[in-house]
Symmetry: C2
Subunit: 118 residues, 2 copies
């Protein structure tokens, strides 16, 4: 049913798909400033609320945002390390000539998230 259900793959399909829509990127950009409710997120987008709710579902299914409902308000938050996997994939696929910095970044990143076994 769900095409990007995290089941078989590594979630990259879902993350990149989530990022491929300008409204969803706008939502993420807004969430960088801090958590926000559904209607606050919807306001600048110029589409109906249900459309926004669908976009949020795509983002949440991809693990890029989280949300909780308190009372009648659902508050959405950018997931920590949400885009890390996508960024890592991109870094690894630079041309050799562009790749010099990646080792440094990888080394530094090791300190901040769960240590990758080498």
């Amino acid at each position: 049913m769900l095409k990007f259900s995290e089941g078989g793959g590594d979630g990259l399909d879902a993350v990149f798909h989530a990022l491929s829509d300008p409204r969803r990127r706008a939502i993420l950009t807004r969430l960088c400033e801090g958590p926000a409710s559904v209607s606050v997120l919807a306001a600048p987008l110029g589409v109906s609320l249900p459309a926004v709710v669908q976009h949020l579902a795509v983002l949440e299914d991809a693990g890029v945002i989280t949300s909780i409902k308190v009372g009648r308000v659902r508050t959405c938050t950018l997931a920590p390390n949400a885009l890390r996997a996508a960024e890592a994939w991109l870094s690894a696929r630079r041309l050799p000539q562009e790749r010099r910095l990646d080792r440094l970044e990888a080394l530094l990143s090791t300190e901040s998230h769960e240590r990758e076994p080498s």
Copy 2:
């Protein structure tokens, strides 16, 4: 007709859409090792040639690869800086707490791109 025609936006739609398919990512991964023909790219994918040609069109429309036909062989190549825009967008959308390394990376990158080491 074309949804991602580079016309109105900045191309991020097209790039992220291109990356959202595992076969297209496999193609890019293969192209990191060097240019390849359509049938070489098709071989490990387990789908028909026309399907692969369509994937290549998506990648080329997104500006991620280039291709030229010589004789009856089309050779595809990873576009230089192809994924830079996507990576930049991602870096800019990290949480503040994760953003410490970005300044360093940005600084170092300034010295290295647009400058081929000879």
